[in-house]
């Protein structure tokens, strides 16, 4: 297997946080963290595999022209609203949503739409709201948080489009072209 530069960065971060964990919590904390990471990996792998396949399949299904018309730079507020709605209903964890973001990026969605999508999925994703927030935080709190967060993905998308125009922050070229 080829070890890339980015793999080395992740290795270094894991080693540094491991040392910090050992320094603050001793062998017990390190052992607990190892068990947690192992369990998490087993839990996540079947979902990640499905997420990657969904990313690949969606690329075959979506029509590039349609995506860039609906979610491209010229798509305006309608594009951002569509991206927000899509993010809200995307089920599953980051292992399913990010392969999908990648697929939309390749298909021609612009930075504003992609970021509105990620923000909506993260902030007001219905899946997590129902599965996690409702049972833990109660209905009153969940409704309040949902309502105040509803307009935020649009704001993030607008800020992203503005940043791309006035600052050096940009998406790199679409890979694999």
């Amino acid at each position: 297997m080829k070890v890339s530069k980015s793999d080395c960065v992740f290795g270094a971060i894991a080693a540094a946080s491991g040392l910090l964990c050992f320094w603050l919590g001793g062998v017990g904390a390190v052992r607990a963290a190892l068990g947690h990471a192992g369990g998490l990996l087993i839990l996540v792998l079947p979902q990640l595999a499905a997420g990657l396949l969904i990313g690949g399949l969606v690329q075959e299904l979506v029509d590039r022209e349609k995506v860039s018309r609906l979610l491209g730079t010229q798509s305006g507020l309608v594009g951002l609203s569509l991206a927000t709605a899509a993010g809200m209903v995307t089920p599953g964890g980051p292992f399913t949503s990010f392969p999908l973001v990648y697929a939309l990026w390749i298909a021609g969605a612009d930075a504003g739409a992609l970021i509105a999508y990620v923000a909506a999925w993260a902030l007001i994703g219905l899946n997590r709201l129902i599965v996690w927030e409702l049972p833990f935080m109660g209905a009153d709190f969940t409704v309040l948080r949902f309502v105040v967060c509803l307009p935020l993905p649009l704001i993030a998308g607008l800020i992203a489009r503005w940043l791309v125009q006035v600052t050096p922050l940009k998406l790199r070229e679409v890979p694999g072209e």
């Binding site: 297997m1 890339s4 793999d7 992740f10 971060i13 894991a14 946080s17 491991g18 964990c21 603050l24 904390a29 390190v30 607990a32 963290a33 190892l34 947690h36 990471a37 998490l40 990996l41 979902q47 990640l48 595999a49 499905a50 396949l53 990313g55 690949g56 399949l57 690329q59 075959e60 299904l61 089920p91 964890g93 980051p94 292992f95 990010f98 392969p99 990026w105 930075a111 992609l114 970021i115 990620v118 923000a119 902030l123 996690w132 927030e133 833990f136 935080m137 009153d140 709190f141 309040l144 948080r145 105040v148 967060c149 935020l152 704001i155 993030a156 800020i159 600052t167 998406l171 790199r172």
Partner: protein
């Protein structure tokens, strides 16, 4: 948990049937190729990232923050909570229990809204484990900048909503 996995695979299966109908075997082969090449790129990175997130979850002191972000802490508390949320490690299975502990420990409602929004948006474990490996650091930088003010906005909106609807009492759910 099982039904989530089953549901995701059902969606995957349905999409595969759809692709097969429209593009035949070649379409399925291209989809599989994309998944395998992405998976290969993640094979080493993902376990390392999960290891790092788990180490951090053990090392950070979580219970002591409630007092700092109480209901009277206002904008400063909201900003602090939003920042703290970004450093809250782990997925929803660890973050919501932590948020509830902090809430019951005496943190204010707008501050907890900001905390959870900060966690949703910045969650460094998610950035390290999925976003950076899949989308690249340029995307991460742009998204972080565009989303930087959102958790604070969420906290302020929540504070305003609570102030407008006087008498609306929202506190930690009692079990």
């Amino acid at each position: 948990m099982i039904w989530i996995v089953t549901g995701i695979w059902l969606v995957t299966g349905a999409l595969a049937v759809w692709v097969h109908r429209r593009q035949g075997k070649a379409g399925l082969r291209r989809s599989g190729g994309f998944a395998v090449s992405q998976g290969r790129a993640l094979a080493l990175r993902l376990p390392l990232a999960m290891l790092a997130a788990s180490f951090l979850a053990q090392a950070l002191p979580i219970e002591h923050i409630a007092s700092v972000i109480g209901p009277q802490s206002g904008l400063i508390g909201i900003v602090l909570a939003a920042g703290l949320g970004g450093f809250m490690p782990g997925g929803p299975m660890t973050s919501f229990p932590i948020a509830l502990i902090v809430y019951e420990g005496g943190a204010g409602t707008p501050q907890i809204v900001a905390l959870l929004a900060g966690w949703s948006i910045f969650a460094m474990h998610r950035v390290l484990a999925y976003e950076a490996p899949i989308m690249g650091w340029a995307f991460v930088a742009l998204r972080m900048s565009a989303c930087a003010v959102l958790p604070v906005l969420a906290g302020l909106f929540a504070q305003a909503a609570l102030a407008v609807s006087e008498g609306l009492q929202i506190g930690p759910a009692i079990f």
